[in-house]
C-alpha cells in the first residue's frame, strides 16, 4: 500500500509538510487542551479557565496565521502540504492513518474559524460574565474550535467524521447549555438526532468509498474517482449530500436549526451561523472530485440549495423572535452556498467566498442581537423592540453594516459573493439556469425584505419596550468584537475580489472554471435586476415596519404567514411521519417483548424445567441440584463413551 505522501506527490497536489506547517497539529491540540483542562480540572479552574480558553483560541489563530504566511511563501501550485500524524485504524484490509491536509481550502477555514472563534471567545467573556457555569461554557467553545479545525484539516473522510461529530457534540452541549429549561434540552436532542440522520448518509458514503476504492482518504479517493463508474459516484455524492443536509440544516433536515437558538447567543453566532453549519458546504466542495463526475448528484445539491434558500427566506419573513429570524436567514444563505457548490467548478469558489463573508456579517449580526438582548433583559421578541438606534449606537452601526452586507448592496461584502452566485446560477443551458437563477434572484429580494424587517423592527420605528427595560450599550468586551466583524462585513468582499484574488487562491483545490461558459442573461442585467428586487424588498419593509406602527401583538396573518411561523409545518410533518409511529412501534415492542417473546421463550424454558409452579418450589438450592445433575450427566456420558471405546 502506498503511503499517502507518495500518492499525493504523484498527483502533484500535496507535498509533505515542513517548517511551521509540520506543527499544524497544534491547531487542534491547543484548543483541545483547553477543553480538557477546563472539563477535568473542575472548579479549581473557575477563575482563570475562561481566560485560558480565550488565550488558547487566539494561540490557534496565531499558528493558523503563520501556516498561512508560510503557504503564501510557496508557489501558486505547490501550496498544499500533507502532514502524516500516526497510524490510526489499521484493521484488516481497512487502513486509515491520521493525517492533515493543509491546503488553500483548509487554511481559509482555519483562519475563519480561529479568527471569528477567538473574537467570540472575547465577546463571551462579557456576555457570560455572570453565568455560574461560565467555565463549562468556555470548555465547550474550545472543544468546538478543536473539532471544527479537525474537521477541515483532516486528510481522510474518516478523520473528518471525528471532527464532524465533535462539532455536533459541542453544538448539542451548547444548545442545551441552559437545559434546566426542558424545551432547551429537547432542542439539543433534536439537533443531535437530526444530525445523526445526516451521519447515516456520511457513514454509507464512506462505506461505498472503501468498498469501491479501498481507500477513504482524500488523495486516494480523488485519484480513484476519475476511473469509477458514474453510478458509484452518484451514490457517494447523494449520501454525502444527506450528511451535508444534516449538518448545514438544509432541506429536508433543516428542522433543528431554529430550535438550536436555545443556546447562548455567542454560540448561535459562532456555531449556528458562521462556522459549523457551513461544514456541509465544505464537505461538498472538498468532495469536488466526486461531484464533478456525478452530474445527477450535483443536480440534487443544486435543488436542495435552491429549495432551502427559498424555504429559509420565507420562514424568515414571519418570525418575530430575532434569533429565529436570523436562524432562518442562515439556512437561506447556506442554501445559496449549497446551490453554488452544486454548480461545479463555476460555483465552488463563490460558495466558499460567500461562506467567508457570511461568516463575518452573520456572526456580527448575531453578536448584535446578543447585545440587544443583553440590554433588553433577554427579550427576543422584535415586537417589543423598536427605536433602539438611539440607545445602542455601536450595536446599531455594526448591525447596520451586517444588514447592508447581507442585502447584497455594493460595495459591502455580501454583494461580491452573493451576486456572483446568482450569476453562476444563470450559467448553463435549458431550463436549469432560468429556474435556479430565478430562485437565487427571487431569494435576494425576499432576503432584503426580511432582513430589513428585522433591522427596522429592532432599531427603528416607535419604541415598543416593556416598562421595566432600560436599554444600554454593551461593555467593550462585547462591542469590540462586533466592530471588528463589522469591518469585515463592510470590506472583506471588496478586498478579496480585487483581481479575483480569492478565486485564484482556491483554484488549485477546486479547479478553474471555463471562462467561456455564458450566463443566459448578461451580467449587468442580472446585477441590475437583483438590485431592483433588493430595493423593492427594502421599500416594502420600510413601509410596513418603519413608517407604519408595528403591532405589539402578533396579528393573525395570512395563511402563508401562519405556515411560515410554523416553519412551513416541518415539525408537524416529522412528528406525524416519524415520531408518532416510532413511539407506537416502541410501545408495541416493549409490550410484545414482555408478553410475547419472553412468554414464548419462557414457556419453552418452563417445559424444559417442568411447570412454572414446580420451578418456584425448586428455586432454593437449585444451582446445587443443577450442578449435581450436570455432574451425573457428565459421568453418564463419560461412562457411555468409555463403554463404546
Amino acid at each position: 500500500m502506498h503511503s499517502l505522501a507518495t500518492l499525493a506527490t504523484a498527483e502533484g497536489a500535496a507535498a509533505a509538510a515542513t517548517g511551521i506547517t509540520a506543527y499544524a497539529w497544534l491547531l487542534v491540540a491547543l484548543p483541545l487542551l483547553g477543553a480538557a483542562v477546563l472539563l477535568f480540572g473542575g472548579r479549581a479552574t473557575d477563575k482563570w479557565g475562561p481566560l485560558l480558553a480565550t488565550g488558547l483560541s487566539w494561540a490557534a489563530f496565531v499558528v493558523g496565521f503563520l501556516v498561512w504566511l508560510a503557504m503564501l511563501g510557496r508557489g501558486h501550485d505547490s501550496r498544499a502540504a500533507s502532514l502524516h500524524l500516526f497510524s490510526w485504524v489499521p484493521a484488516g484490509s481497512f487502513k486509515v492513518d491520521a493525517g492533515m491536509l493543509v491546503d488553500q481550502l483548509s487554511v481559509t477555514f482555519v483562519l475563519l474559524v480561529t479568527f471569528v472563534g477567538s473574537l467570540i471567545h472575547v465577546y463571551s467573556l462579557g456576555y457570560m460574565e455572570h453565568d455560574p457555569d461560565k467555565r463549562r461554557f468556555f470548555a465547550y467553545l474550545n472543544l468546538f474550535v478543536a473539532s471544527m479545525l479537525l474537521l477541515v484539516l483532516a486528510d481522510s473522510y474518516l478523520l473528518l467524521y471525528v471532527g464532524w461529530e465533535g462539532v455536533g457534540l459541542a453544538s448539542y452541549l451548547l444548545i442545551g447549555f441552559w437545559n434546566w429549561n426542558p424545551a432547551y434540552a429537547t432542542a439539543a436532542n433534536k439537533a443531535f438526532v437530526v444530525n445523526r440522520v445526516g451521519d447515516f448518509g456520511l457513514s454509507i458514503a464512506i462505506m461505498i468509498m472503501f468498498v469501491s476504492f479501498g481507500r477513504v482518504d482524500f488523495a486516494g479517493v480523488s485519484q480513484a474517482a476519475g476511473h469509477a463508474h458514474e453510478g458509484v459516484l452518484t451514490a457517494i455524492g447523494l449520501m454525502l449530500l444527506l450528511g451535508a443536509c444534516g449538518k448545514s440544516a438544509q432541506f429536508p433536515l433543516q428542522s433543528w436549526l431554529g430550535d438550536a437558538m436555545a443556546g447562548p447567543t455567542p454560540v448561535s453566532a459562532l456555531i449556528h451561523a458562521a462556522t459549523m453549519v457551513t461544514a456541509g458546504v465544505y464537505l461538498v466542495v472538498r468532495s469536488s472530485f466526486i461531484f464533478d463526475h456525478a452530474p445527477s448528484a450535483q443536480l440534487a445539491v443544486v435543488i436542495v440549495g435552491a429549495v432551502t434558500l427559498l424555504f429559509g427566506a420565507i420562514v424568515g419573513c414571519a418570525k418575530d423572535d430575532i434569533k429565529k429570524a436570523l436562524a432562518a436567514s442562515t439556512m437561506s444563505q447556506i442554501g445559496y452556498m449549497m446551490l453554488a457548490a452544486g454548480l461545479g467548478p463555476v460555483g465552488y469558489a463563490f460558495a466558499i467566498f460567500h461562506l467567508l463573508t457570511h461568516g463575518f456579517f452573520k456572526a456580527g449580526m448575531f453578536l448584535g442581537a446578543g447585545s440587544v438582548m443583553h440590554g433588553m433583559n433577554d427579550q427576543v421578541d422584535m415586537r417589543r423592540f423598536g427605536g433602539l438606534s438611539g440607545a445602542m449606537k455601536i450595536t446599531w452601526a455594526t448591525f447596520g453594516l451586517g444588514w447592508l452586507a447581507i442585502l447584497g448592496v455594493p460595495p459591502f461584502s455580501g454583494f461580491w459573493s452573493k451576486d456572483k452566485i446568482i450569476e453562476a446560477a444563470f450559467v448553463g443551458e435549458g431550463w436549469r439556469p432560468w429556474v435556479f437563477g430565478g430562485a437565487a434572484m427571487l431569494g435576494a429580494g425576499i432576503t432584503a425584505f426580511y432582513m430589513s424587517r428585522l433591522f427596522f423592527m429592532t432599531f427603528h420605528g416607535k419604541r415598543r419596550w416593556s416598562d421595566d427595560v432600560h436599554p444600554h450599550e454593551s461593555p467593550l468586551t462585547m462591542t469590540v468584537p462586533m466592530m471588528v466583524l463589522a469591518v469585515g462585513s463592510g470590506l472583506l468582499g471588496l478586498v478579496l475580489s480585487l483581481g479575483g484574488m480569492f478565486t485564484t487562491w482556491l483554484e488549485p483545490v477546486v479547479g478553474a472554471h471555463d471562462e467561456n461558459e455564458r450566463a443566459v442573461l448578461s451580467v449587468p442585467a442580472i446585477t441590475v435586476l437583483t438590485l431592483l428586487l433588493i430595493a423593492a424588498g427594502v421599500a416594502m419593509a420600510w413601509l410596513r415596519y418603519w413608517r407604519d406602527a408595528v403591532p405589539q401583538v402578533q396579528p393573525v396573518g395570512s395563511m402563508l404567514t401562519r405556515a411560515a411561523r410554523r416553519d412551513l409545518y416541518q415539525d408537524d410533518v416529522n412528528e406525524g411521519v416519524f415520531m408518532r409511529p416510532g413511539v407506537h412501534l416502541t410501545r408495541a415492542l416493549v409490550f410484545a417483548d414482555n408478553r410475547g417473546v419472553d412468554g414464548a421463550v419462557g414457556g419453552l424454558a418452563a417445559m424444559v424445567g417442568g411447570t412454572s409452579s414446580r420451578l418456584r418450589r425448586l428455586q432454593n438450592g437449585f444451582a446445587r441440584s443443577y450442578a449435581l445433575t450436570m455432574l451425573a450427566g457428565v459421568v453418564l456420558i463419560f461412562g457411555a463413551l468409555w463403554v463404546i471405546q
Binding site: S87, W88, F94, T186, V211, G214, V601
Partner: protein
C-alpha cells in the same frame, strides 16, 4: 520467566484469593474487600506481564501454551493458550474485576461472612473467566463455560434485588438450555475427530471433514449456546431481568465479560471448527443480528428502568458484534473483536455510573430523576461521556469498532449493513432521551443534600474513561493483537476479502 505457566498462574491467583477471602478470620472480616482488591490487582499485573510475552507476529495460533493430560480416557486435556482475541478478552476481564470490586465497595453493608462470600465469589468468577478464554481444549472450555454459571447464580440469587430469585433462575435456565445443547455437539465433535488421549484439543478438531449434515447440526448446537449467551434476539429475554436484579458490579461482569464468551465462541468454535456450516448459516445469522440491533435499540428507547435500558443497549451492541463476525471479512472481524473490548468498558461505565446515581436517588426508575445535572454535575458529566461511548461517538473507542463492523459488513452484504446503520440514529435516541429525562430540567427538590462523585468513584470511572479516549484515538495496540487472530480464523473458514470494485489503478471501467 518465559517457562512460567503464565495462564495457569493468572487464573489461579484469584482462586487462591477467593479462598483467602472466604476463610478470613473473624477479626479481619472487614478487610475482605481490601484483600479481594489486592488479589485482583496482582492478577492484573500478572496478566500484563503475561501479555508482554505475547508476540503478535507469531505464526502459531496459540501462545503461552500449556498442556497436560487430564482425562486421557476421554481425550480431555488441560490445555491453555491464547490468540490475540483471547488475550484481549482476558486483559479486559482482569481490568474490569478490580474496577468492579472497587465499585462494589459498599454493596454488602451488613458485612460478616456474607460480605466475604460476595467478594470471594467475584474472585472465583475471575478465575473461570480467565479459564474460559484460555482453554484450547473443547471439553475444558465447556467445563469453564458451565462452571461460570455457578458464581454468577449465587451473585444474582443471593445478593441481587427484590426479584433476584426469579432473575437468577431465569438466567440459569437459559444458560443451562444452551449449555446442554452444546454438550451434545461437544461429544459428537469428539467422535468425528481423531480421538485419542488429546482428542478434544482445538487444534485436533480444526479442519475436519465432517460431512454436511453433521457439520451443520454441530454448528447449530454450538451456535445456540453462544446465541443465548451473547445474547441475541429472540433468546435475549433473560438479560434485562438478570441485569436489573443483579448488583451493578455483577451486571458488568455478566454483560461485559461473560456474554463475550458467546461471541468469542462463535469465532473460535463456530467459524474455526465448522467453516462450511458457518457459511451456510450466514444469511440467517445476519438476519438475527440485524434484528437484534434494531430490536434492542427500540426496546431500550421504551424502557423506564435504567438498568433494563442499559441491558437492551447491549442486545443491540451484541447484534453489531455478531454482524461483524459473520460478515467474514478481516475488517468486520477486527471491528467485532475490538467491539467486544470496547463494549466491555462502555457498558461497565454505564452500569457503574448508573448505579452511583441509583444509590443516591434510591430508585432505578428513570422518571424518578430529572434535573440531576444540577445536583451532581460531575456524575452527570461522566454519565454523558459513558452514554456517548454507548452511542459510538466518533473520537471515542466504540466508534472505531462500530464503524469497522459496518464497513466490513458492507464489503460483502450491502443491505444488512445499511439497515444496521439505522442503529446509529436509534442509539442517539436511547442515550440522549435517557440523559434528558434523568439529567436535564429544573433542579429537583431533595430531602437531603447529595454528594457529587467521590474519590473512590473517580477511581472506578477513571480507567474506563481513559479506555474510551485512548482506544478512540489510538486503537492500534489492540488492533495489532486482534488482526492476526482474525486473519487466521478467516483462513480456516477459507474466505478472503473482496477486492475494491473500482480501484485506483482503473482496471475496472
Amino acid at each position: 520467566m518465559t517457562n512460567l505457566p503464565w495462564l495457569t498462574v493468572v487464573g489461579l491467583v484469584p482462586l487462591v484469593g477467593a479462598a483467602v477471602v472466604a476463610l478470613l478470620p473473624t477479626g479481619l472480616t472487614d478487610r475482605a474487600r481490601h484483600v479481594a482488591l489486592g488479589f485482583s490487582l496482582v492478577t492484573l499485573v500478572l496478566g500484563i506481564a503475561a501479555a508482554l510475552q505475547f508476540d503478535s507476529g507469531s505464526k502459531s495460533q496459540f501462545q503461552l501454551t500449556e498442556r497436560h493430560q487430564w482425562i486421557p480416557q476421554f481425550g480431555v486435556s488441560y490445555a491453555l493458550g491464547v490468540d490475540g482475541i483471547a488475550l484481549v478478552m482476558i486483559l479486559m476481564a482482569l481490568v474490569l474485576t478490580p474496577v468492579c470490586i472497587l465499585a462494589a465497595w459498599h454493596d454488602v453493608p451488613e458485612g460478616g461472612s456474607r460480605e466475604k462470600n460476595y467478594f470471594a465469589l467475584m474472585l472465583a468468577l475471575e478465575t473461570f473467566m480467565v479459564g474460559v478464554f484460555a482453554a484450547t481444549d473443547v471439553f475444558l472450555f465447556y467445563v469453564f463455560f458451565e462452571a461460570m454459571l455457578i458464581p454468577v447464580y449465587f451473585l444474582i440469587g443471593s445478593f441481587g434485588g427484590p426479584r433476584r430469585q426469579y432473575a437468577a433462575v431465569k438466567f440459569l435456565l437459559f444458560s443451562l438450555a444452551g449449555g446442554l445443547v452444546m454438550l451434545v455437539g461437544v461429544i459428537a465433535l469428539y467422535h468425528y475427530g481423531p480421538g485419542g488421549a488429546d482428542g478434544f484439543l482445538v487444534s485436533k478438531l480444526t479442519g475436519l471433514h465432517l460431512g454436511t449434515t453433521a457439520e451443520r447440526l454441530m454448528f447449530v448446537a454450538f451456535f445456540f449456546a453462544f446465541a443465548v449467551k451473547a445474547p441475541m434476539w429472540p433468546v435475549h429475554t433473560w438479560l434485562p431481568d438478570a441485569a436489573t436484579e443483579a448488583r451493578p458490579a455483577t451486571a458488568v461482569l455478566l454483560v461485559g465479560v461473560l456474554d463475550k464468551v458467546g461471541t468469542f465462541g462463535m469465532i473460535r468454535f463456530c467459524l474455526q471448527l465448522f467453516p462450511e456450516a458457518s457459511k451456510w448459516a450466514t444469511p440467517v445469522v445476519l438476519l438475527l443480528a440485524v434484528i437484534s440491533i434494531l430490536y434492542g435499540a427500540l426496546l431500550a428507547i421504551g424502557q423506564t428502568d435504567l438498568m433494563r435500558l442499559i441491558a437492551y443497549t447491549s442486545v443491540s451492541h451484541f447484534g453489531f458484534i455478531v454482524l461483524g463476525i459473520f460478515a467474514l471479512t478481516t475488517t468486520g472481524g477486527a471491528g467485532s473483536t475490538l467491539y467486544m473490548l470496547n463494549h466491555g468498558f462502555s457498558t461497565a461505565a454505564l452500569f457503574l455510573i448508573g448505579a452511583m446515581l441509583v444509590a443516591r436517588r434510591g430508585s432505578k426508575r428513570i422518571p424518578d430523576f430529572g434535573g440531576w445535572q444540577r445536583v451532581t454535575p460531575g456524575l452527570a458529566g461522566v454519565f454523558l461521556l459513558a452514554g456517548l461511548s454507548g452511542l459510538a461517538l466518533p473520537g471515542l473507542s466504540s466508534f472505531v469498532s462500530e464503524f469497522l463492523v459496518l464497513v466490513g459488513t458492507f464489503q460483502r452484504y450491502k443491505l444488512p449493513a445499511i439497515v444496521a446503520t439505522v442503529g446509529i440514529v436509534l442509539a442517539a435516541l436511547y442515550i440522549l432521551l435517557m440523559y434528558k429525562r434523568m439529567m436535564t430540567g429544573p433542579r429537583p427538590e431533595l430531602d437531603a443534600p447529595v454528594l457529587d462523585i467521590t474519590l473512590r468513584e473517580k477511581l472506578v470511572v477513571a480507567p474506563l474513561v481513559a479506555a474510551f479516549l485512548v482506544l478512540g484515538f489510538y486503537p492500534k495496540p489492540a488492533l495489532d493483537l486482534l488482526n492476526p487472530a482474525v486473519s487466521k480464523t478467516l483462513q480456516y473458514v477459507g474466505v478472503s476479502d473482496p477486492a475494491p470494485t473500482s480501484a485506483a489503478d482503473g482496471s475496472t471501467k
